[in-house]
Protein backbone atom coordinates (compact mmCIF):
# COMPACT_ATOMS: atom_id res chain seq x y z
CA UNK A 1 0.00 0.00 0.00
CA UNK A 2 1.57 3.25 -1.08
CA UNK A 3 0.78 6.37 0.85
CA UNK A 4 2.46 9.75 0.62
CA UNK A 5 4.69 10.59 2.31
CA UNK A 6 6.11 7.13 2.66
CA UNK A 7 6.10 6.00 6.27
CA UNK A 8 6.95 2.56 7.59
CA UNK A 9 4.46 1.42 10.23
CA UNK A 10 5.23 -1.17 12.89
CA UNK A 11 2.37 -2.76 14.83
CA UNK A 12 4.19 -5.70 16.32
CA UNK A 13 4.04 -8.13 19.15
CA UNK A 14 7.46 -9.77 19.09
CA UNK A 15 11.02 -9.00 18.03
CA UNK A 16 11.58 -12.30 16.29
CA UNK A 17 9.11 -11.18 13.66
CA UNK A 18 9.70 -7.41 13.62
CA UNK A 19 12.50 -7.76 11.08
CA UNK A 20 10.36 -10.18 9.10
CA UNK A 21 7.44 -7.75 9.07
CA UNK A 22 9.65 -4.94 7.81
CA UNK A 23 11.29 -7.12 5.16
CA UNK A 24 7.94 -8.45 3.93
CA UNK A 25 6.46 -4.95 3.78
CA UNK A 26 9.40 -3.69 1.74
CA UNK A 27 9.35 -6.67 -0.61
CA UNK A 28 5.61 -6.36 -1.24
CA UNK A 29 5.81 -2.65 -1.88
CA UNK A 30 8.98 -3.08 -4.01
CA UNK A 31 10.58 -0.32 -1.96
CA UNK A 32 13.81 -0.18 -0.01
CA UNK A 33 14.54 1.34 3.37
CA UNK A 34 16.08 4.30 1.54
CA UNK A 35 12.59 5.31 0.36
CA UNK A 36 11.28 5.62 3.91
CA UNK A 37 10.94 9.18 5.19
CA UNK A 38 9.75 8.32 8.71
CA UNK A 39 9.06 5.36 11.00
CA UNK A 40 5.80 5.03 12.94
CA UNK A 41 5.08 2.59 15.76
CA UNK A 42 2.29 1.79 18.20
CA UNK A 43 3.25 3.37 21.53
CA UNK A 44 0.06 2.22 23.32
CA UNK A 45 -2.36 1.12 24.51
CA UNK A 46 -1.57 -2.60 24.53
CA UNK A 47 0.47 -5.30 26.23
CA UNK A 48 3.53 -3.68 27.74
CA UNK A 49 6.08 -6.31 26.62
CA UNK A 50 4.88 -6.28 23.04
CA UNK A 51 4.83 -2.48 22.95
CA UNK A 52 8.36 -2.18 24.33
CA UNK A 53 9.78 -4.54 21.74
CA UNK A 54 7.87 -2.84 18.92
CA UNK A 55 9.11 0.58 20.01
CA UNK A 56 12.70 -0.72 20.33
CA UNK A 57 12.52 -2.15 16.80
CA UNK A 58 11.16 1.13 15.47
CA UNK A 59 13.69 3.31 17.28
CA UNK A 60 16.54 1.06 16.02
CA UNK A 61 15.31 1.60 12.48
CA UNK A 62 14.76 5.34 12.91
CA UNK A 63 18.14 5.89 14.51
CA UNK A 64 19.86 3.64 11.97
CA UNK A 65 18.24 5.47 9.06
CA UNK A 66 18.48 8.92 10.64
CA UNK A 67 14.73 9.46 10.12
CA UNK A 68 12.04 10.75 12.48
CA UNK A 69 10.07 8.38 14.68
CA UNK A 70 6.37 8.72 15.49
CA UNK A 71 5.11 6.81 18.52
CA UNK A 72 1.36 6.83 17.95
CA UNK A 73 -1.87 5.75 19.62
CA UNK A 74 -3.19 2.36 18.49
CA UNK A 75 -6.82 3.56 18.58
CA UNK A 76 -6.16 6.69 16.55
CA UNK A 77 -4.30 4.47 14.07
CA UNK A 78 -7.43 2.31 13.63
CA UNK A 79 -9.34 5.44 12.62
CA UNK A 80 -6.55 6.67 10.31
CA UNK A 81 -6.53 3.52 8.22
CA UNK A 82 -9.61 4.82 6.39
CA UNK A 83 -7.37 7.34 4.66
CA UNK A 84 -5.68 4.55 2.73
CA UNK A 85 -8.86 4.08 0.74
CA UNK A 86 -10.55 7.50 0.88
CA UNK A 87 -8.87 10.59 -0.45
CA UNK A 88 -11.01 13.11 1.40
CA UNK A 89 -10.07 14.22 4.90
CA UNK A 90 -12.21 12.60 7.58
CA UNK A 91 -12.43 15.43 10.03
CA UNK A 92 -14.49 16.36 11.80
CA UNK A 93 -16.06 12.97 12.36
CA UNK A 94 -17.55 10.72 14.96
CA UNK A 95 -15.62 7.45 15.12
CA UNK A 96 -17.03 4.19 16.37
CA UNK A 97 -14.10 1.98 17.23
CA UNK A 98 -15.12 -1.62 17.84
CA UNK A 99 -12.84 -4.63 18.23
CA UNK A 100 -11.90 -7.43 20.59
CA UNK A 101 -10.04 -4.95 22.79
CA UNK A 102 -12.06 -1.75 22.56
CA UNK A 103 -15.53 -0.27 22.05
CA UNK A 104 -15.29 3.51 21.97
CA UNK A 105 -17.17 6.46 20.55
CA UNK A 106 -14.81 9.29 19.69
CA UNK A 107 -15.14 12.80 18.39
CA UNK A 108 -12.30 13.58 16.03
CA UNK A 109 -11.71 17.19 15.10
CA UNK A 110 -8.17 16.59 13.88
CA UNK A 111 -6.79 13.07 13.92
CA UNK A 112 -3.24 14.34 14.42
CA UNK A 113 -4.04 16.43 17.48
CA UNK A 114 -7.61 16.41 18.75
CA UNK A 115 -9.44 13.24 19.72
CA UNK A 116 -12.19 13.44 22.37
CA UNK A 117 -13.63 10.37 24.05
CA UNK A 118 -17.44 10.49 24.15
CA UNK A 119 -17.98 7.03 25.60
CA UNK A 120 -16.72 3.48 25.91
CA UNK A 121 -17.74 0.02 27.04
CA UNK A 122 -18.28 -0.35 30.77
CA UNK A 123 -17.51 -4.08 30.62
CA UNK A 124 -16.71 -6.30 27.63
CA UNK A 125 -15.53 -4.93 24.31
CA UNK A 126 -17.96 -5.70 21.46
CA UNK A 127 -15.57 -8.22 19.90
CA UNK A 128 -15.15 -9.93 23.26
CA UNK A 129 -18.94 -10.40 23.50
CA UNK A 130 -18.93 -12.01 20.05
CA UNK A 131 -16.13 -14.38 21.12
CA UNK A 132 -17.82 -15.41 24.36
CA UNK A 133 -21.24 -16.03 22.82
CA UNK A 134 -19.69 -17.94 19.90
CA UNK A 135 -18.02 -20.20 22.44
CA UNK A 136 -21.19 -21.04 24.36
CA UNK A 137 -22.90 -21.72 21.03
CA UNK A 138 -20.05 -24.00 19.94
CA UNK A 139 -19.16 -21.78 16.97
CA UNK A 140 -15.39 -21.56 17.39
CA UNK A 141 -12.89 -18.71 17.43
CA UNK A 142 -12.74 -15.90 16.43
CA UNK A 143 -16.39 -15.42 17.31
CA UNK A 144 -17.16 -12.40 15.13
CA UNK A 145 -16.85 -14.05 11.69
CA UNK A 146 -18.39 -17.30 13.02
CA UNK A 147 -21.52 -15.56 14.30
CA UNK A 148 -21.68 -13.42 11.18
CA UNK A 149 -21.75 -16.61 9.03
CA UNK A 150 -24.25 -18.44 11.25
CA UNK A 151 -26.54 -15.39 11.34
CA UNK A 152 -26.87 -15.29 7.53
CA UNK A 153 -29.57 -17.98 7.68
CA UNK A 154 -31.23 -16.64 10.84
CA UNK A 155 -34.00 -14.20 11.71
CA UNK A 156 -32.61 -11.12 13.52
CA UNK A 157 -36.04 -10.45 15.06
CA UNK A 158 -36.61 -14.01 16.32
CA UNK A 159 -35.57 -13.23 19.91
CA UNK A 160 -35.73 -9.82 21.59
CA UNK A 161 -32.41 -9.64 23.44
CA UNK A 162 -31.72 -6.62 25.70
CA UNK A 163 -29.99 -3.45 24.45
CA UNK A 164 -27.63 -2.36 27.24
CA UNK A 165 -27.65 1.23 28.54
CA UNK A 166 -30.58 2.35 26.39
CA UNK A 167 -33.13 3.14 29.12
CA UNK A 168 -34.23 6.75 29.53
CA UNK A 169 -32.01 7.16 32.60
CA UNK A 170 -29.01 5.81 30.68
CA UNK A 171 -29.52 8.29 27.85
CA UNK A 172 -29.54 11.01 30.51
CA UNK A 173 -26.43 9.90 32.38
CA UNK A 174 -24.19 7.93 30.03
CA UNK A 175 -25.57 8.33 26.52
CA UNK A 176 -22.46 7.16 24.66
CA UNK A 177 -21.26 4.32 26.87
CA UNK A 178 -21.85 0.65 26.12
CA UNK A 179 -22.50 -2.43 28.21
CA UNK A 180 -22.66 -5.94 26.78
CA UNK A 181 -22.62 -8.06 29.93
CA UNK A 182 -26.43 -8.07 30.30
CA UNK A 183 -26.82 -9.19 26.69
CA UNK A 184 -24.26 -11.94 27.22
CA UNK A 185 -26.14 -13.24 30.27
CA UNK A 186 -29.48 -13.06 28.44
CA UNK A 187 -28.17 -15.15 25.54
CA UNK A 188 -26.63 -17.73 27.88
CA UNK A 189 -29.93 -18.01 29.83
CA UNK A 190 -31.92 -18.34 26.61
CA UNK A 191 -29.67 -21.17 25.39
CA UNK A 192 -30.03 -22.96 28.73
CA UNK A 193 -33.81 -22.57 28.84
CA UNK A 194 -34.32 -23.52 25.20
CA UNK A 195 -32.73 -26.93 24.50
CA UNK A 196 -34.05 -27.02 20.93
CA UNK A 197 -32.97 -23.48 20.07
CA UNK A 198 -32.47 -22.52 16.43
CA UNK A 199 -28.81 -21.59 16.28
CA UNK A 200 -28.97 -19.24 13.25
CA UNK A 201 -31.83 -17.34 14.90
CA UNK A 202 -29.92 -16.93 18.16
CA UNK A 203 -26.79 -15.79 16.29
CA UNK A 204 -28.77 -13.32 14.16
CA UNK A 205 -30.74 -11.93 17.12
CA UNK A 206 -27.64 -11.57 19.30
CA UNK A 207 -25.76 -9.87 16.47
CA UNK A 208 -28.72 -7.58 15.86
CA UNK A 209 -28.75 -6.50 19.51
CA UNK A 210 -25.08 -5.52 19.36
CA UNK A 211 -25.34 -3.79 15.98
CA UNK A 212 -28.49 -1.98 17.07
CA UNK A 213 -27.00 -0.52 20.23
CA UNK A 214 -23.71 0.42 18.54
CA UNK A 215 -25.51 2.32 15.80
CA UNK A 216 -28.14 3.89 18.09
CA UNK A 217 -25.35 5.48 20.11
CA UNK A 218 -23.15 6.36 17.14
CA UNK A 219 -25.98 8.15 15.37
CA UNK A 220 -27.00 9.87 18.63
CA UNK A 221 -23.40 11.06 19.06
CA UNK A 222 -23.42 12.54 15.56
CA UNK A 223 -26.73 14.29 16.27
CA UNK A 224 -25.69 15.71 19.62
CA UNK A 225 -22.35 17.05 18.34
CA UNK A 226 -23.77 18.27 15.04
CA UNK A 227 -21.16 16.29 13.14
CA UNK A 228 -22.60 14.67 10.02
CA UNK A 229 -19.87 12.08 9.50
CA UNK A 230 -19.39 8.63 11.01
CA UNK A 231 -16.33 6.44 10.65
CA UNK A 232 -16.44 2.83 11.86
CA UNK A 233 -13.14 1.03 12.49
CA UNK A 234 -11.67 -1.95 14.33
CA UNK A 235 -12.10 -5.69 13.83
CA UNK A 236 -15.88 -5.70 14.42
CA UNK A 237 -16.25 -3.20 11.54
CA UNK A 238 -15.75 -6.22 9.28
CA UNK A 239 -19.15 -7.57 10.44
CA UNK A 240 -21.48 -7.71 7.42
CA UNK A 241 -24.67 -6.90 9.36
CA UNK A 242 -23.03 -3.87 11.00
CA UNK A 243 -21.85 -2.59 7.61
CA UNK A 244 -25.29 -2.99 6.03
CA UNK A 245 -27.28 -1.55 8.94
CA UNK A 246 -24.83 1.35 9.35
CA UNK A 247 -25.32 2.37 5.72
CA UNK A 248 -29.10 2.28 6.06
CA UNK A 249 -29.23 4.27 9.27
CA UNK A 250 -26.67 6.83 8.16
CA UNK A 251 -28.59 7.37 4.91
CA UNK A 252 -31.76 7.95 6.94
CA UNK A 253 -29.99 10.35 9.29
CA UNK A 254 -28.08 12.05 6.44
CA UNK A 255 -24.74 11.11 7.90
CA UNK A 256 -21.76 10.38 5.66
CA UNK A 257 -20.50 6.89 6.51
CA UNK A 258 -17.03 5.49 6.07
CA UNK A 259 -15.91 1.97 6.86
CA UNK A 260 -12.50 0.68 5.76
CA UNK A 261 -12.43 -2.56 3.75
CA UNK A 262 -12.62 -5.60 6.09
CA UNK A 263 -8.94 -6.47 5.58
CA UNK A 264 -7.88 -3.11 7.03
CA UNK A 265 -10.20 -3.27 10.03
CA UNK A 266 -8.09 -5.66 12.13
CA UNK A 267 -4.74 -4.65 13.67
CA UNK A 268 -2.15 -4.00 10.96
CA UNK A 269 1.01 -2.03 10.25
CA UNK A 270 -0.65 0.00 7.50
CA UNK A 271 -2.89 1.80 9.98
CA UNK A 272 0.12 2.86 12.03
CA UNK A 273 1.92 4.00 8.88
CA UNK A 274 -1.20 5.93 7.83
CA UNK A 275 -1.30 7.88 11.08
CA UNK A 276 2.46 8.50 10.92
CA UNK A 277 2.04 9.81 7.42
CA UNK A 278 -0.73 12.17 8.52
CA UNK A 279 1.41 13.43 11.41
CA UNK A 280 4.25 14.14 9.02
CA UNK A 281 1.99 15.90 6.50
CA UNK A 282 0.48 18.01 9.27
CA UNK A 283 3.99 19.12 10.23
CA UNK A 284 3.80 17.52 13.66
CA UNK A 285 7.10 16.95 15.43
CA UNK A 286 8.34 13.39 15.78
CA UNK A 287 8.55 11.59 19.12
CA UNK A 288 11.68 11.34 21.22
CA UNK A 289 13.70 8.29 20.19
CA UNK A 290 13.61 7.12 23.80
CA UNK A 291 9.83 7.46 24.06
CA UNK A 292 8.25 5.36 26.78
CA UNK A 293 5.60 2.96 25.54
CA UNK A 294 2.42 3.30 27.63
CA UNK A 295 0.20 0.25 28.01
CA UNK A 296 -2.73 2.41 29.10
CA UNK A 297 -2.17 5.37 26.78
CA UNK A 298 -5.40 7.42 26.81
CA UNK A 299 -7.17 7.73 23.47
CA UNK A 300 -6.85 11.51 23.69
CA UNK A 301 -3.05 11.24 23.33
CA UNK A 302 -2.62 10.77 19.58
CA UNK A 303 1.17 10.64 19.67
CA UNK A 304 3.92 10.83 22.24
CA UNK A 305 6.18 13.89 22.39
Amino acid sequence: MRIEPLVLGIETSCDETAIGIVETALKRSKLSLKDIVAVAVTAGPGLVGALLVGVASASGLALGLGKPLYGVNHLAAHVSVDLLTHEMPVEPTIALLVSGGHSSLLQIDDITSSVIKLGESMDDAAGEAFDKIARVMGLGFPGGPAIDREAQAGNPRAIDFPRGLTQAKDWATRPFDFSFSGLKTAVARYLEATPDYVRPDVAASFQEAIVDVLLLKAVAAARSTGIDSLLIAGGVAANSRLRLAAQKRCDEARIRLRIPPPALCTDNGAMVAALGSLMLSAGRAGSRLDLEADSSLPVTTVSLP
Binding site: V53, A56, A58, G60, L65, E292
Partner: protein
Protein backbone atom coordinates in the same frame (compact mmCIF):
# COMPACT_ATOMS: atom_id res chain seq x y z
CA UNK B 1 38.19 -4.78 12.32
CA UNK B 2 35.51 -2.15 11.96
CA UNK B 3 34.06 0.17 14.55
CA UNK B 4 31.59 -1.67 16.78
CA UNK B 5 28.43 -0.50 18.49
CA UNK B 6 28.16 -2.78 21.55
CA UNK B 7 24.91 -3.13 23.51
CA UNK B 8 23.95 -5.25 26.51
CA UNK B 9 20.51 -5.34 28.17
CA UNK B 10 20.82 -8.68 29.97
CA UNK B 11 21.19 -7.21 33.48
CA UNK B 12 19.62 -4.30 35.39
CA UNK B 13 22.25 -2.11 33.71
CA UNK B 14 21.74 -1.04 30.11
CA UNK B 15 25.23 -0.55 28.64
CA UNK B 16 26.20 0.88 25.29
CA UNK B 17 29.70 1.47 23.94
CA UNK B 18 31.45 2.36 20.73
CA UNK B 19 34.67 0.45 20.35
CA UNK B 20 37.44 0.76 17.76
CA UNK B 21 40.38 -1.68 17.67
CA UNK B 22 39.71 -2.72 21.24
CA UNK B 23 39.69 0.89 22.41
CA UNK B 24 36.70 2.51 24.05
CA UNK B 25 35.61 5.56 22.01
CA UNK B 26 32.47 6.13 24.05
CA UNK B 27 30.66 4.39 26.87
CA UNK B 28 27.41 5.06 28.67
CA UNK B 29 25.04 3.17 30.91
CA UNK B 30 21.78 3.54 32.76
CA UNK B 31 20.66 1.46 35.74
CA UNK B 32 17.11 0.23 36.21
CA UNK B 33 15.57 -3.19 35.68
CA UNK B 34 12.65 -1.79 33.66
CA UNK B 35 14.29 1.09 31.83
CA UNK B 36 16.00 -0.78 28.97
CA UNK B 37 13.37 0.36 26.47
CA UNK B 38 14.11 4.05 26.77
CA UNK B 39 17.76 3.67 27.81
CA UNK B 40 18.98 1.89 24.66
CA UNK B 41 17.96 4.51 22.07
CA UNK B 42 18.99 7.40 24.34
CA UNK B 43 22.44 5.93 24.94
CA UNK B 44 22.98 4.91 21.30
CA UNK B 45 21.96 8.39 20.12
CA UNK B 46 24.50 9.92 22.52
CA UNK B 47 27.23 7.54 21.32
CA UNK B 48 26.53 8.25 17.65
CA UNK B 49 27.24 11.93 18.30
CA UNK B 50 30.81 10.91 19.13
CA UNK B 51 31.19 8.40 16.29
CA UNK B 52 28.38 8.11 13.74
CA UNK B 53 30.12 5.60 11.47
CA UNK B 54 29.40 2.12 12.76
CA UNK B 55 30.66 -1.03 11.01
CA UNK B 56 28.97 -3.70 13.09
CA UNK B 57 26.67 -4.19 16.07
CA UNK B 58 27.65 -6.58 18.87
CA UNK B 59 24.78 -7.52 21.17
CA UNK B 60 24.66 -9.40 24.47
CA UNK B 61 22.28 -12.32 23.87
CA UNK B 62 21.75 -12.97 27.57
CA UNK B 63 20.71 -14.97 29.41
CA UNK B 64 18.54 -12.26 30.89
CA UNK B 65 14.98 -11.33 31.84
CA UNK B 66 12.68 -11.70 28.85
CA UNK B 67 11.52 -8.20 27.95
CA UNK B 68 14.72 -6.29 28.66
CA UNK B 69 16.73 -8.80 26.66
CA UNK B 70 14.31 -8.69 23.72
CA UNK B 71 14.31 -4.89 23.68
CA UNK B 72 18.10 -4.76 23.27
CA UNK B 73 18.18 -7.48 20.62
CA UNK B 74 15.27 -5.98 18.65
CA UNK B 75 16.98 -2.60 18.62
CA UNK B 76 20.34 -4.09 17.59
CA UNK B 77 18.79 -6.02 14.73
CA UNK B 78 16.76 -3.19 13.23
CA UNK B 79 19.62 -0.71 13.63
CA UNK B 80 21.95 -3.10 11.80
CA UNK B 81 19.29 -3.67 9.15
CA UNK B 82 18.89 0.06 8.59
CA UNK B 83 22.65 0.48 8.15
CA UNK B 84 23.11 -2.84 6.27
CA UNK B 85 25.84 -3.87 8.68
CA UNK B 86 26.31 -7.22 10.46
CA UNK B 87 24.96 -7.94 13.93
CA UNK B 88 26.92 -10.35 16.13
CA UNK B 89 25.57 -12.04 19.26
CA UNK B 90 27.62 -13.08 22.32
CA UNK B 91 26.65 -14.77 25.60
CA UNK B 92 26.53 -11.91 28.14
CA UNK B 93 27.92 -14.06 30.99
CA UNK B 94 31.08 -14.62 28.94
CA UNK B 95 31.63 -10.86 28.87
CA UNK B 96 31.56 -10.75 32.67
CA UNK B 97 33.83 -13.78 33.03
CA UNK B 98 36.43 -12.17 30.75
CA UNK B 99 37.32 -9.67 33.48
CA UNK B 100 37.35 -12.04 36.44
CA UNK B 101 40.84 -12.49 37.93
CA UNK B 102 40.57 -16.01 39.30
CA UNK B 103 42.95 -18.88 38.61
CA UNK B 104 40.61 -21.64 39.74
CA UNK B 105 37.24 -22.58 38.31
CA UNK B 106 34.58 -19.98 39.01
CA UNK B 107 30.93 -19.17 38.37
CA UNK B 108 29.40 -16.00 36.92
CA UNK B 109 25.81 -15.23 37.92
CA UNK B 110 23.31 -12.53 36.91
CA UNK B 111 19.90 -11.76 38.38
CA UNK B 112 17.09 -13.81 36.84
CA UNK B 113 14.47 -12.33 39.26
CA UNK B 114 11.87 -14.61 40.88
CA UNK B 115 14.58 -15.59 43.39
CA UNK B 116 16.73 -17.26 40.73
CA UNK B 117 20.05 -16.52 39.04
CA UNK B 118 21.40 -17.18 35.58
CA UNK B 119 24.82 -18.75 35.84
CA UNK B 120 27.67 -20.38 33.93
CA UNK B 121 30.90 -22.03 35.09
CA UNK B 122 34.33 -21.11 33.70
CA UNK B 123 37.69 -22.87 33.64
CA UNK B 124 40.79 -21.17 32.28
CA UNK B 125 38.63 -18.45 30.73
CA UNK B 126 36.34 -20.91 28.93
CA UNK B 127 32.71 -21.64 29.70
CA UNK B 128 32.49 -25.32 30.68
CA UNK B 129 28.96 -25.45 32.08
CA UNK B 130 25.77 -23.42 31.49
CA UNK B 131 24.23 -21.01 30.92
CA UNK B 132 21.52 -22.25 33.27
CA UNK B 133 19.01 -20.79 35.69
CA UNK B 134 18.66 -21.94 39.32
CA UNK B 135 18.05 -20.88 42.89
CA UNK B 136 21.15 -19.24 44.45
CA UNK B 137 21.54 -22.03 47.04
CA UNK B 138 21.82 -24.64 44.31
CA UNK B 139 24.62 -22.70 42.63
CA UNK B 140 26.44 -21.99 45.91
CA UNK B 141 26.37 -25.72 46.68
CA UNK B 142 28.60 -26.34 43.68
CA UNK B 143 31.45 -24.88 45.76
CA UNK B 144 33.09 -22.43 43.36
CA UNK B 145 33.75 -18.70 43.81
CA UNK B 146 30.93 -16.57 42.42
CA UNK B 147 31.00 -13.26 40.53
CA UNK B 148 28.41 -11.04 38.86
CA UNK B 149 25.27 -9.03 39.71
CA UNK B 150 23.29 -12.15 40.62
CA UNK B 151 25.91 -13.23 43.15
CA UNK B 152 26.21 -9.75 44.65
CA UNK B 153 22.43 -9.46 45.03
CA UNK B 154 22.26 -12.64 47.12
CA UNK B 155 25.46 -11.82 49.05
CA UNK B 156 27.25 -14.90 47.73
CA UNK B 157 29.79 -13.03 45.61
CA UNK B 158 33.57 -13.39 45.90
CA UNK B 159 33.92 -9.74 44.99
CA UNK B 160 31.53 -6.96 44.12
CA UNK B 161 33.52 -5.95 41.05
CA UNK B 162 32.82 -7.37 37.58
CA UNK B 163 29.08 -7.24 38.13
CA UNK B 164 28.06 -6.37 34.60
CA UNK B 165 29.09 -7.48 31.09
CA UNK B 166 32.20 -5.68 29.83
CA UNK B 167 31.56 -4.31 26.38
CA UNK B 168 35.18 -4.37 25.19
CA UNK B 169 35.19 -8.06 26.14
CA UNK B 170 31.86 -8.51 24.36
CA UNK B 171 33.34 -7.18 21.11
CA UNK B 172 36.56 -9.19 21.49
CA UNK B 173 34.57 -12.37 22.12
CA UNK B 174 32.42 -11.62 19.06
CA UNK B 175 35.52 -11.79 16.85
CA UNK B 176 35.79 -15.46 17.71
CA UNK B 177 33.29 -17.36 15.55
CA UNK B 178 33.01 -20.13 18.13
CA UNK B 179 31.91 -17.70 20.83
CA UNK B 180 29.05 -16.28 18.80
CA UNK B 181 25.40 -16.89 19.67
CA UNK B 182 22.69 -16.59 17.01
CA UNK B 183 19.60 -15.89 19.10
CA UNK B 184 18.48 -14.78 22.55
CA UNK B 185 19.34 -17.09 25.47
CA UNK B 186 16.08 -17.12 27.42
CA UNK B 187 16.68 -20.52 29.09
CA UNK B 188 14.09 -19.96 31.82
CA UNK B 189 12.40 -23.25 32.61
CA UNK B 190 8.61 -23.23 32.97
CA UNK B 191 7.62 -22.57 36.60
CA UNK B 192 5.20 -25.47 36.77
CA UNK B 193 7.69 -28.14 35.72
CA UNK B 194 9.66 -29.77 38.55
CA UNK B 195 13.32 -29.01 37.94
CA UNK B 196 16.55 -30.86 38.45
CA UNK B 197 17.09 -29.44 41.91
CA UNK B 198 13.84 -30.91 43.13
CA UNK B 199 14.74 -34.34 41.79
CA UNK B 200 18.04 -34.12 43.59
Amino acid sequence: MSISLAIDTSTSRTSVAIIDQGALLWHGYRDGATSHGSAVPALVAAGLKVQPLIGQVVIGMGPGPFTGLRVGIAFARTFAMARTIPVIGVCSLDAIAALVQEKNDFIVATDARRKEIYWAKYQGGLRIEGPSVDRPAVVVAKGFPLFGEGAVKYSIAQSDEEQFPDLIALVTLGENLEMRVDGPLYIRHPDAVPTRERAR
